[in-house]
Symmetry: C3
Subunit: 394 residues, 3 copies
């Protein structure tokens, strides 16, 4: 579709994203979600057509990574750069759980000429999202008291509850695979736990997926071995969303059973909820011995479920034997990146390029989140950009 | 005041800042100081009115941090970005005292397309400022011999002698608190040592404050426990400045006595001069055991002066019980960031937002230093920017 | 010469650089080399005349440094910034030899909005260049399958085989020293091993120098103690080039003999070939004890050749006693950066500023590599830039 028409479509949607932080998809209404997707698509196409959507002449996009990241780091950097902002990393010791005056002060000190703060803080249950809100309150105070010329927007780059830039990129991938959001209705999506030899993976991806995808009338099945529950409140949100959107939501405890007739499978490891809770407590107390013991316990636990590998055999059980495989990457691939893992080598290979494509939406999702936070009428601004036709290269 | 009028005011001032490094405020005359403040104010207002003062289409602003920094790092990055330069960090091992050919060569190697080198080197008495001048001489040589297309300017981001971007931000804060530089005349400013449980804090902030504030007719009182002297030559400068500007300068040894009737108090810890001297010698010899012994000795020494805390009781003694509290941040706040520190929690809280505001001038002070170094007639250039009216956002 | 005329000269040359990686100079034909030099000169002069050749409105230039670097890092950053790209560092553990799926995936993940990937990977024989090609294949796959909107270009910032941005900067230095490439004909260039107290220096500089300089009719003499051979295939290339260009190529084993009547000397340490091969094997096996033993053995070996120092005595033997001294920096300077090294202090001092100048071409060589990779007709694009006359500063 032509950019002109996409922008027309966008102008029909009213959103409440202006000057709001993006912390959890379930705090946003359906129009907000649609606007993000549409703006992301437009920005992607502009870049492909060599049109520069640079809307900032200067300004910083600060990033705070309290956990390692390559994909999201580059996505955030690319998004900021596309719009004209410069990345500035805020380098904290990643295991620190800093709160109080330090957070309040630092939030202001790094924001005098800053438009966005992107935060990844996904290691401790009950902490990451809380931290983002603390930063937000500090920025509110600074802005209201004339310390900050503008209120920087916060972009959740993964917390303990949600990973919105991932789930929205995944949603845009699905939209493009099936042609429209409407066509997702009635599709069966299985979000399944999968075995991994590593420890302590966040719960935010499965939580983000079930909470977002349940809004589009899909039949969601969440499968995991008993003990690997997600945060109950978020599961409740997914249930309600499913009901409201005319889909269904089901929890089960066998990957093999779950994938039957699935249209879409998302096999991904995560740590058991209770382990993550204990871990947070031990970390607060800096109990090293306790933490080591817990890690061993968790890995022993995990090892019981090595058959939770997505593979050829399981794929055959899906709809026509060719369900769409999804992953946020990097996947633990049996025989490739580990001995036994989330997915076998042959199955992954079939969808490898699709997973790259899936990841490729993230920079634009982040750019769209930034764009809609800063421009009240994104359609109007994008129209002006299109008409101006500034080249990205050349 | 309107930008147009501020720029008119600026044009009346003649400065000698063009193509000169900014290393010590006392190497600059009064007009230079006024120009920096005025340009900083104009740049701040431009940013607030969404006018972009981007004067560089490309170019690097290198930073060399030989000590940790968050505030100054972000201020420098913001300033550079506002004017169109890209930050490039020069990552050295911070404890190294490199001199000679390495400095000379490196200074040129990082400067081929560089407009500024910002340096923080505040750990060793007699070293930091010397290092900056060594870099400067290397750049002079490179420029004169056609190796560098332009001579990058050096910005002192804190050395062993001065912290000019801090003291100038503080001065701008005072100017705005009282309405004008003229209104600072006759005000009593107390720069007081304060207790801190940490060790080895640089002397550059108190030195910078007394050397700069003494130029505006204030009654400066420098208070510290005996043994915590500052560099004598800089104290002399402050004395002379006070005399010349019609103010006064006094040294005393009780915080409680000093703050009586003060208009402004700046309670801040620093290490004893002789300890810093010994430390530099031990570091040159890499004498680890000696350094550990010295640290213990210093902390024991410090602990004798825990009553040098600025608090409610002392605040009551100041002018009308409401002297303006200043700090370069982060402060050691009793009961907040440490058990016993420079200031108590309640007193700090009363001025917390004011200290954020104080810090908020720093990016613009740095930008003004850059601007006046590169543009011979800053008023003219700013007028052109205003007339062009390029938007920062949108 | 005026920019206008230089651009006219450039337009006469046809190159095959468009959309090709720059990995080895010997994969490029003579016209390619000439175009790079010419574009580099034009960009340098534009910068000196305050004309901005910014051709990108946004876009990333990723850097992957698997070995330390200051000079090349800043050169790459300056080049990217000059053209409008923002640097984004890809931070790997430097000793890792990652291959396979990780490389393939990562290459795509960092490239969604990326124009260039600059790679330094020079530590392991048989690995660095191979790695770059692996990255290249992954990018090809991503681009062909619509995952990447453009195929990022790869810039070899030093591998185990070649250091093209260094050798091309060196060539541009020689061109400027002698007036033209034609005037290099018949000049004697000695690429000589030199003693250094350090261990494991890459072979890529001497290899890059002999393979490139042999294309311009010079008499190349490669001198080293027996056992310090270079990769045989690259020596063969140098021999063939010499024959074709009407020059000569000779290997000898005495620095003193070699420098006789030399016009140009390039005394530089490198590790023995067989040591580098053993080292790569030991590193693959993570054999720490073996590596330590090898290092000792190598240093003992090196120490036998301390008389391979370039100094006043040897300089007297060169053409008129004043051969041009070259070095990629930093040099191991006897009595300055080490006790006994590659060159004595007095001799180095005579050419110190010349070596800085030599280094100063590198940012423009890199910018030229980027420019010619992205613009099919660089002359036409540069003409447009000149006519537009956008200022870099002001």
């Amino acid at each position: 579709m032509k950019l002109k028409n996409k922008i027309k479509d966008l102008k029909r949607l009213k959103s409440g994203l202006y000057e709001k932080d993006f912390l959890l998809t379930w705090e946003k209404n359906e129009n907000d979600i649609k606007v993000i997707l549409k703006v992301a698509e437009i920005l992607k196409q502009m870049r492909e057509e060599n049109i520069s959507p640079k809307v900032f002449d200067s300004g910083l996009a600060v990033s705070i990574f309290r956990d390692n990241s390559t994909r999201t780091r580059f996505s955030y950097a690319s998004a900021a750069n596309l719009l004209g902002l410069e990345i500035q990393d805020m380098d904290e010791k990643k295991s620190q759980i800093a709160h109080g005056e330090t957070v309040r002060e630092t939030a202001n000190m790094i924001s005098f000429l800053t438009d966005f703060i992107g935060i990844r803080d996904d290691l401790f249950l009950g902490e990451g999202n809380k931290y983002m809100r603390e930063v937000g309150e500090a920025l509110d105070e600074g802005y209201k008291n004339g310390i900050l010329p503008t209120r920087p927007g916060i972009v959740n780059l993964q917390c303990d509850m949600d990973h919105p830039t991932q789930s929205l990129a995944d949603l845009l991938h699905l939209k493009n695979e099936y042609g429209s959001l409407e066509k997702l209705k009635g599709k069966k999506l299985v979000m399944s736990w999968a075995y991994s030899p590593s420890y302590g993976k966040p719960l935010s991806v499965p939580q983000g997926i079930i909470a977002l995808m349940s809004r589009f009338g899909m039949d969601i099945e969440l499968a995991y071995p008993e003990g690997y529950e997600l945060i109950p409140e978020i599961v409740e949100i997914a249930k309600k969303n499913s009901k409201k959107s005319g889909g269904s939501f089901k929890i089960s405890h066998s990957m093999k059973e779950a994938v039957k007739d699935a249209d879409i499978v998302y096999p991904k490891s995560w740590a058991p909820f209770h382990i993550m809770e204990e871990r947070t407590e031990l970390l607060k107390k800096s109990d090293k011995i306790g933490l080591e013991k817990l890690e061993k316990q968790c890995l022993t636990e995990n090892a019981k479920f090595k058959d939770w590998e997505y593979n050829e055999e399981k794929m055959k059980l899906t709809k026509k034997g060719k369900a769409l495989y999804m992953h946020c990457l990097p996947a633990d691939i049996s025989g490739v990146s580990c001995q036994e893992g989330e997915v076998d080598g042959d199955t992954f290979e079939k969808f490898r390029l699709k997973t790259y494509q899936e990841a490729g939406y993230k920079p634009y999702i982040i750019a769209a989140i930034m764009f809609t936070n800063r421009f009240k009428n994104p359609g109007k601004t994008l129209k002006r950009i299109l008409e101006k036709g500034e080249k990205r290269k050349g």
